[in-house]
Amino acid sequence: MLEVRNLTKDYENKPLLKGVSFEVDQGELVCLLGSSGSGKSTILRIIAGLEEPESGAVLWQGRDLREVPTHKRGFGLMFQDYALFPHKTVAQNIAFGLQLQGLKEEEISRRVKDGLESIQMESFADRPVTELSGGEQQRVALARALATSPKLLMLDEPLGALDHTLRTQLIQELRAILHQSQIPVIYVTHDREEAFGLADRLVILHEGVILQQGTPQELFEQPETPWIAEFLGLGNLVPGVVTQAEPLMIKTDFTELTFPNQPLQYSPGQECQLLLRPEDALIGAPFSAQENRFECTVRDSLFMGEYHQLELLCGETTLFAKSETPAELGAKLEVSWPAESIRVFANQ
């Protein structure tokens, strides 16, 4: 449906986007995930036609949108600060786009009513938007963007300004509303939880370049670089050196790990990074395998509700691990990470 092809954009003479390409399909919710300054919002603004790229193209159903002005693209954009019209009421804000489409009064008021219903704010119709709370403004902005039935909806950090409890609640609501609307959605955020909670597909943007895209599960299971693993907060990243190729053995600061079933692609002496996920740690359970087992000292043990988070000192390295049981501070513990749970990144 939407294709973004090789976009580049400079900002104050520095490259902000360095050739960004991705696609969005019918009914798909794509999350652009990146830290601030990665150029995510600029991509939205270029798709919207509010900014022009230095090079590259935005295509809708194969058609280049270069010559199509913003108001004729028929896309919706929900701004980070909502950009509700302060001189209009809630209902007038939602009606704005409908009036511009030249719809009849009855049709407009019906659709405004539907919109208010979908965000459960029927009683707010005649309130000035300046009197709404952040969460209420967010919903009105969503209703306003959806009221015109845009061909594509873009949301720029829509939950960014809200507190954590409200966010968790709104993510659920958003997902329901967006999936109901059946239109393709591009959702920009810097928040992993939000992205994983909403996206059909994730696009990770870093310094104007797309690092990886895929379903949340793909990204979770197969991050392509240590940077992505760290950015997504997937677990402990540990440096190591290959000591043997067949079977693969990697020496770290605290132990030597063995990977019996790894394909042959490493050579001895090669440096690499290892991803050890906290949830894959085997602690205090009877180990079926004896490999990759080492001793650590418990530095801290935190009760997190469903599990205990252990901070372990192994050699000079600190590792985090999830445990079903608490541990005593200073105690020695035997820990193991099964070889198949460890992801190896060879250093370039």
Partner: protein
């Protein structure tokens, strides 16, 4: 600060109030008494309403037309400065804002050098076609007045509207575009409604300035065009018909008050932070072709409107084009410093002749005194207003009234009340700095008040707890923080006083003119030398006011406005 805060506040009010009561309200009351006793006791039959209605109608008409034209120029200019970044932006903005601080006589003189009989255009046409008299009679016409008013007041629109426009969240406009609005619909449905308060406020202010315009109309309009302000002057100074002058003053005061009240009402910000730009900078380089065309067109128009008259004045003051009085035969056309040199010579030896240098000395002396009076009273008043006391809301309007009263009305009132012992005709000029102080006072208060309010009380409390006495607190905490604002207001007072024409024209006697009064005198006399000297003085005044304006821009705090 003390245990009796209300008492201290009252003490702060005391001197400014006494000054105002004696020098502003007493003359004002005198005008009212004159109008409602003497004149109307003679009965309505003797009074010709056309004496009032004619200037009133014309005043409203020209103010209305001027305001519309000013908006036509000012609105696109406000957009230009609010949204676009381009090379030379700062210089162009400085040029566009300069007229506000220019004295009316300088503006009038500048337009005179452009379109007057001795101006560039007419002299060039005469030389080209060998004419004996100036072909274009552009001076003394309504277009001349309107042009000067547009020149003068566009800066107000730019200042007020472009500052609120640049603070307007551009995403509101983007949101409208996303919802299907064309650029024009976005402007009419979103931008314009949100700008309306500042737009109305600026327009009313422009209307007010046009309505009370004196120097421009007197010098560019000629005898057949007379606004209320000019008519007050004529009736009082030329026909000695004080009651009619008084009635005109009362009518004018009523209207200006009404407009001022309206202006204050619309000026209140309506949407709080909701419409504010979250980012510091909404400027962008013109990217599309129509944007580039717009920026170029506006830049050229603004340079033509603002730089050309100023340039014309300065160049004309260095050039001889026509004959002196009583000089016959060929005239040497070319560059000359003579007009400037002549400023320091006493040529005619007549007892009524005053050398220009004397006028410059007078003006500098008066502005010095004005700075002292207005600075002191303005700061006291601002301190009093910054304090929380119940009676403040009754006293504050008393201080903003002088802004509504025109300089000419002030002059008339002074004429009525101080024309007797202990004042005498010869001591009249001593009243000039007082009149100037009254005119400048509201500006000082408006600059100082926000600065004083910005000092958190905890700062003073902290320094007192560290052992500072009240005087030390004032000198070591308040003064350093207020210094910038104080300097800004004093420079502003200086330029106001130097350029003030209305009240000075009432109060200065033939021996003690101020610079603007002297310029008016010289420019209305025949002869190249008189004309040239008027231009030389105007250019000097322009230079001083331009430097003052530059200084203000340098030292003023960001976001501080002068009205």
């Amino acid at each position: 600060m003390t245990k009796r805060p209300a008492l201290l506040t009252l003490a702060l009010w005391l001197i400014p109030l006494a000054f105002l009561a004696y020098f502003f309200y007493q003359p004002l009351v005198a005008i009212f008494r004159l109008v409602f006793s003497e004149h109307f006791s003679q009965g309505w039959e003797l009074f010709e309403w056309s004496q009032v209605s004619k200037p009133l109608n014309f005043t409203i008409l020209q103010a209305f037309l001027s305001t519309i034209l000013t908006l036509v120029v000012g609105l696109p200019a406000a957009w230009l400065f609010a949204r676009f970044d381009f090379p030379g932006r700062k210089v162009l903005r400085a040029i566009s804002l300069l007229p506000f601080i220019l004295p009316t006589v300088v503006v009038a003189a500048a337009f005179n050098t452009l379109i007057g009989p001795q101006g560039w255009i007419n002299q060039a046409l005469m030389a080209l076609f060998n004419l004996t008299s100036p072909p274009l009679k552009l001076l003394n016409s309504l277009p001349a007045i309107l042009l000067a008013h547009v020149f003068y007041n566009t800066s107000i629109i730019i200042r007020i509207v472009s500052s609120s426009w640049s603070r307007l969240n551009p995403r509101l406009e983007h949101a409208a575009r996303m919802l299907g609005a064309t650029p024009w619909q976005t402007f009419t449905k979103v931008t314009l409604p949100l700008l309306l308060p500042s737009l109305l406020s600026a327009s009313l202010l422009v209307f007010l300035f046009d309505f009370t315009s004196f120097g421009v109309v007197l010098m560019l309009g000629g005898p057949q065009f007379s606004t209320i302000e000019v008519e007050i002057y004529n009736q009082a100074m030329n026909r000695f018909n004080l009651p009619v002058a008084g009635l005109l003053s009362v009518i004018q005061l009523g209207i200006t008050l009404l407009v001022t009240l309206l202006q204050n009402r619309v000026n209140t910000p309506r949407y709080g932070k909701a419409a504010l730009n979250p980012e510091r900078n909404a400027l962008s380089r013109p990217a599309k072709r129509w944007q580039k065309t717009f920026v170029l067109f506006m830049a050229i128009s603004l340079v033509l409107l603002f730089a050309v008259p100023v340039f014309s004045l300065i160049t004309r003051s260095f050039v001889t084009l026509e004959a002196d009085r009583a000089q016959r035969g060929e005239v040497a056309i070319g560059f000359t410093l003579r007009y400037y040199r002549e400023l320091f010579r006493n040529r005619s030896g007549s007892i009524f002749y005053v050398p220009p240098i004397q006028a410059i000395r007078n003006s500098l002396l008066y502005s010095g005194v004005t700075i002292l009076i207005a600075g002191l009273l303005g700061t006291l008043t601002a301190y009093a207003m910054a304090r929380r006391a119940r009676f403040n809301k009754f006293l504050e309007p008393l201080f903003m009234l002088p802004l509504g009263a025109s300089a000419v009305t002030l002059g008339l009132g002074f004429l009525l009340i101080f024309n007797r012992p202990p004042w005498a005709n010869s001591t009249f000029p001593l009243l000039i700095p007082i009149a100037h102080s009254l005119i400048a006072l509201p500006f000082v208060v408006r600059t100082m008040l926000p600065a004083i309010r910005s000092i958190p009380e905890s700062l003073r409390e902290a320094s007192r707890s560290l052992g500072a006495n009240p005087l030390q607190v004032l000198l070591r905490v308040d003064l350093p923080i207020l210094l910038r604002s104080l300097l800004v207001s004093l420079v502003f007072v200086f330029t106001i006083s130097l350029g003030e024409f209305g009240a000075s024209s009432f109060l200065s006697n033939p021996h003690t003119p101020t610079i603007p009064v002297a310029i008016y005198r010289y420019i209305s006399q025949p002869g190249a030398l008189n004309y040239g000297q008027a231009l030389a003085m105007s250019s000097l005044l322009l230079l001083v006011c331009g430097l003052g304006s530059l200084l203000i821009e340098k030292i003023r705090l960001p976001g501080e406005e002068l009205f």
